[in-house]
Amino acid sequence: APSVSAAAPRTTQNNYHLAQAYLDKYYTSKAGPQVGEMGAPGGRALIKKIKELQAFFGLRITGKLDRPTMDMIKRPRCGVPDVAN
């Protein structure tokens, strides 16, 4: 049982980094927010981008990296950003 619990946090961390990279790539315009605005992980800017992604894909807008959002992030896709760039 302990090994299971050890695996869960790692998966969450992997998902977090995957989501961060995805949002940086597809939901940041090149003119881009100032680094300060990005703030600490899980900051307001990140939640705002998660909501933008959920709105774009018609998902329930929770601002959280829930299962439907992570499933969408893991789908193969086009490399052009979804927000104006």
Binding site: K25, Y26, F56, F57, G58, M72, R75, P76, R77, C78, G79, V80, D82, A84, N85
Partner: protein, 169 residues
């Protein structure tokens, strides 16, 4: 549908394209066919025609690239990002790159090149991503059968907003 900021479009009705680098997972003839069918999908809806050239610069330069290939948008290996294209314009404008780390195919045992090429050429002609899940310009991969393919309504509206409808005789 969505257009790019400033609504860039080609100011001419005949565009040239050139496939400058191929992939090892399909024969050159298959790549040529998939690209031709993908361009024709858009050409059937608007008064645009596409001429293939085999040397020099073309409006739409097409190539299979790996990792960092010099345009500030590095590819990421298998899955993830499959391809990208640039909005109409000089230089890189219209150019379309496919991630050579993917397994490309004419069928369904990999990523169907027609499907991805048709989507990317939408960008090369001026369309951004659509929020309509049934649209070809929806950002995530969804297999489209190349033969008998018709552009979904959302994509027809988008491309005709830029170039007007193709006049039927």
């Amino acid at each position: 549908y969505r257009l790019f900021p400033g609504e860039p479009k080609w100011k001419k009705n005949t565009l040239t394209y050139r496939i400058s680098k191929y992939t090892s997972s399909m024969s050159p003839a298959e790549v040529d066919k998939a690209v031709e069918m993908a361009l024709q999908a858009w050409g059937s809806a608007v008064p645009l025609s596409f001429i293939r050239v085999n040397s020099g610069e073309a409006d739409i330069m097409i190539s299979f690239e790996t990792g960092d290939h010099g345009d500030s948008y590095p590819f990421d290996g298998p899955r993830g990002t499959l391809a990208h294209a640039f909005a109409p314009g000089e230089g890189l404008g219209g150019d379309t790159h496919f991630d050579n780390a993917e397994k490309w195919t004419m069928g369904m045992n990999g990523f169907n090149l027609f499907t991805v090429a048709a989507h990317e050429f939408g960008h090369a002609l001026g369309l951004a991503h659509s929020t309509d899940p049934s649209a070809l310009m929806y950002p995530t991969y969804k297999y489209q059968h190349p033969y008998g393919f018709h552009l979904p309504k959302d994509d027809v509206k988008g491309i005709q907003a830029l170039y007007g409808p193709r006049k039927t005789l």
